[in-house]
């Protein structure tokens, strides 16, 4: 039975994606019998191409997506090159987990609260530095160029890429390489770029693609920070799907398919860039330049990273400040008074989506953990050797634009009479929660010394006893961290909740994004703060519980 676990998992995973892609593809060519579309035609594409602002929306999508990905990548590379082996790197690592847990929407809202013309930064500098006694008439958020969107995405993607880079660095034996390069006279930064980066990059490739795809196709952050007329392609497509006029679904499906093509083209382009960079890089390495001491980068990169992490933290804090704010006139740096009034007034309204968020996140995370453990255990008991293809499969939902298969999946859910149910939302969340849970747990699980299990079996312990009392206990920390990651992912999901919930199941994320369109900052702050606090609490628990359980076990402390 356990042997079937990988297949069951793949089915739960691929079924919705395949159904979803097909269910987007057919309406894109006019086929959707429920709406009277019973002939294949190119009419949806004609409508799509006639839509005002489409060209600009595509350019915006490409511009913001590539800008955010390249910026994040460069910053992470610069930071790693500048801090290899220094205690700064380790300190940054400790700060990452809570930042990673922050949902995109909450971070974007907090970021808007910081940089808006009437935001915290302007307040902190006014009137003494700027002379403003009223907010300037600037478009620092929702600017037509998508600069705020790029900044918000970079803020969120850098911690993720940095964590992936740290994980990759552990596998390429960077310190030894650096020592060898230094002995040959290479400066630290040049040595890192020439020796470590070429080994590290393959480990970063899939995470980078995921960041690129996400940046190109994100909806919630684009709604909160991005331009409105026209918005990015994904937001435009969502607007059509949400249109009262249901015939808009046809051009919307064509638009979703166009986004898929844009994303695939972007990945191909990135891949081409990799090739070019590899050729140029090899030439650069062969030329033998030793480089200097890397003093400038050594100062600039950590400073930039510090600024970025500080902005992350400030974005969370400002949410809380607003949610407790009494009267707060413009140039004042802080509210005139703090009050519980907002929370008291909002508790009845906020409790419903908060409960739904918690229930969906717990169910999706629990399922994802069960499936992941079943797959990993089946792998060990039956000596299965998952290959590269299995890895790509796990990454698949993260490498496709969500909107390209979620609409079709919703149509399929309607057919199954499941749309708008908790079960549908949990299943859809599973598509995104499972990859993160699996990727976060698989390495520590596979790395556990197999002799522990062999030794336990030799003492007479059966496979399930070994699983529960040896493996799960020894790996309690990574197990709980994986659960916290899954929980955080689920809490942050916007589109999957929107589509599978058919508008009937509201979570903190869907509510916060809706409120971001113009609600009182105090109320919006409360929703976004709670959305951000839930995953943080899960992380805190995941760290505290094993520490407390193993307080008398030195061998169980993290290395």
């Amino acid at each position: 039975m356990l042997k079937a676990a990988p297949w069951l998992t793949a089915g739960l995973f691929l079924g919705p994606i395949a159904a979803g892609l097909a269910g987007t593809l057919l309406p894109a060519f006019g086929w959707l019998p429920a709406l009277g579309g019973t002939t294949l035609s190119l009419e949806p594409w004609r409508a799509l191409l006639d839509a005002p602002g489409l060209g600009r929306a595509v350019l915006l999508t490409l511009g913001t997506g590539f800008a955010a990905t390249i910026l994040s990548f460069l910053l992470v590379i610069a930071f790693c090159a500048a801090t290899q082996g220094s205690p700064l790197a380790r300190r940054a690592q400790a700060a990452l987990a809570p930042l990673l847990a922050t949902p995109h929407a909450a971070l974007a809202i907090g970021f808007a609260f910081l940089v808006a013309p009437s935001g915290w930064i302007a307040r902190a500098l006014s009137p003494w530095a700027t002379g403003w006694d009223r907010p300037p008439d600037w478009a620092t958020v929702n600017d037509p160029w998508g600069i705020a969107l790029v900044a918000g995405l970079t803020l969120k993607e850098v911690p993720y890429l940095l964590l992936m880079a740290f994980a990759g660095l552990g596998q390429v034996r960077a310190a030894e390489g650096m020592r060898a390069a230094a002995a040959l006279g290479y400066g630290p930064v040049t040595g890192w770029l020439k020796v470590v980066l070429p080994q590290l990059y393959p480990q970063l490739r899939l995470p980078l693609y995921a960041v690129l795809v996400f940046s190109l196709s994100v909806v919630d952050v684009a709604l909160i920070l991005g331009p409105g007329a026209p918005p990015t392609l994904s937001a435009l497509v969502l607007r059509w799907f949400a249109d009262r006029e249901l015939t808009m679904w046809f051009p919307a499906a064509a638009g979703a398919l166009l986004l898929l093509l844009v994303v695939l083209g972007a990945i191909l382009l990135w891949r081409l860039g990799e090739r070019v960079a590899a050729v140029l890089g090899r030439r650069w390495i062969a030329a033998g330049g030793r480089g200097g001491g890397g003093v400038v980068l050594g100062l600039a990169a950590p400073a930039l990273m510090g600024l970025l992490l500080a902005a992350n933290a400030a974005a969370l804090i400002v949410l809380l400040v607003w949610s407790f704010a009494g009267p707060w006139r413009f140039p004042e740096a802080l509210p005139a008074a703090f009050t519980l009034a907002t929370w008291q007034a909002q508790v009845p309204a906020i409790a419903v989506p908060a409960t739904a968020t918690l229930a969906v996140a717990l169910a999706a995370t629990g399922l994802a953990l069960l499936l992941t453990l079943a797959c990993l255990e089946a792998e060990q008991r039956h000596g299965l050797r998952p290959g590269r293809r299995a890895l790509l499969l796990i990454w698949l939902p993260l490498l496709l634009p969500q909107i390209a298969f979620l609409f079709g999946w919703q149509v399929a859910l309607v057919r199954l009479d499941l749309d708008g149910t908790m079960g549908a939302v949990v299943w859809t969340h599973l598509l995104f929660v499972l990859p993160y849970v699996f990727l976060s747990l698989a390495d520590p699980w596979r790395a556990l010394d197999p002799r522990y299990a062999r030794g336990a079996a030799a003492l007479g312990a059966g496979p399930w006893r070994v699983f529960l009392t040896v493996k799960c206990r020894l790996l309690l920390r990574p197990l709980l961290v994986a659960a916290a990651v899954g929980f955080a992912v689920s809490v942050g999901l916007y589109l999957p909740t929107l589509f599978a919930g058919a508008g009937r199941i509201a979570t903190l994320t869907t509510e916060a994004v809706t409120l971001a369109a113009g609600a009182d900052r105090r109320i919006l702050g409360a929703y976004a703060a709670l959305q951000a606090l839930m995953p943080l609490a899960a992380y805190a628990l995941a760290v505290a519980l094993p520490t407390w359980l193993h307080r008398d076990r030195r061998g169980m402390r993290p290395a």
Binding site: D449, R451, R454, A458, L459, G460, P463, M556
Partner: protein
């Protein structure tokens, strides 16, 4: 009780790694298998304990007191296993580790605790039960690991380079500690090692194995 291996051949991708036509280990006897790394010693132990990686193919059988155990899963063979590393479970106390080894058929909690206390006492580790294994010295940990294995009442014992990680001063005492118990319990033991001093101390038959292919690395 005796351990007998017959007509064993383990292959990996059509390449023969281990071949033993017949090897018998008498009760209380320690047979030493010596050979350089890559000669398949550890593969032999993995097969005996029932934990051979599925990538390998094995023919042949192992009997304990005439009973074929080749088809049994690892946890039903009752073949004890001792590694170079003690592999005490870091999440359990010393007593917890020993209780893990003690058969569940001994039900009474007091009786279990008494067995564990007596075993510790006899190994000059009296009062160590509540200790965190991470706070023990290397020699103490090695002794706890052996006690854990023996408390499971194995019908045979496999030793995988059991003294390799101990410093020289400890090694002699630990050898004595292990071999004396094997003799006293009257169980057959198979030890793989590349230290000739181990073989000498075991005072049993020595089987030399060569790498399967001369240049096979």
């Amino acid at each position: 009780m005796s351990l007998v291996i017959e007509e064993l051949e383990i292959t990996l991708a059509e390449r023969s790694l281990v071949a033993v036509s017949r090897l018998a280990v008498a009760p209380g006897e320690v047979v030493t298998v010596m050979g350089p790394s890559g000669s398949g010693k550890s593969t032999l132990l993995a097969w005996l304990s029932g934990a051979l990686d599925p990538a390998f193919r094995a023919r042949g059988r192992v009997t304990l007191d005439g009973k074929d155990v080749s088809a049994l899963p690892p946890h039903r063979r009752r073949i004890g296993l001792l590694f170079q590393d003690d592999l005490l479970f870091p999440h359990l106390s010393v007593a917890g580790n020993l209780a893990f080894g003690l058969p569940a058929s001994l039900r009474d909690r007091r009786a279990r605790e008494a067995r564990i206390a007596a075993a510790l006492e006899e190994a000059e580790l009296g009062g160590f039960g509540p200790r965190d294994p991470a706070t023990l010295s290397g020699g103490q940990r090695a002794r706890v690991a052996l006690l854990r294995t023996l408390l499971a009442e194995p019908r045979a014992l496999l030793l995988d380079e059991p003294f390799g990680k101990l410093d020289v001063a400890l090694r002699g005492r630990m050898r004595e500690f292990v071999f004396e118990r094997v003799l006293r319990l009257g169980i057959p033991a198979l030890m793989v090692t590349h230290d000739p001093a181990d073989a000498e101390a075991a005072a049993g038959p020595v089987l030399h194995v060569a790498p399967a292919t001369p240049d096979g690395g």
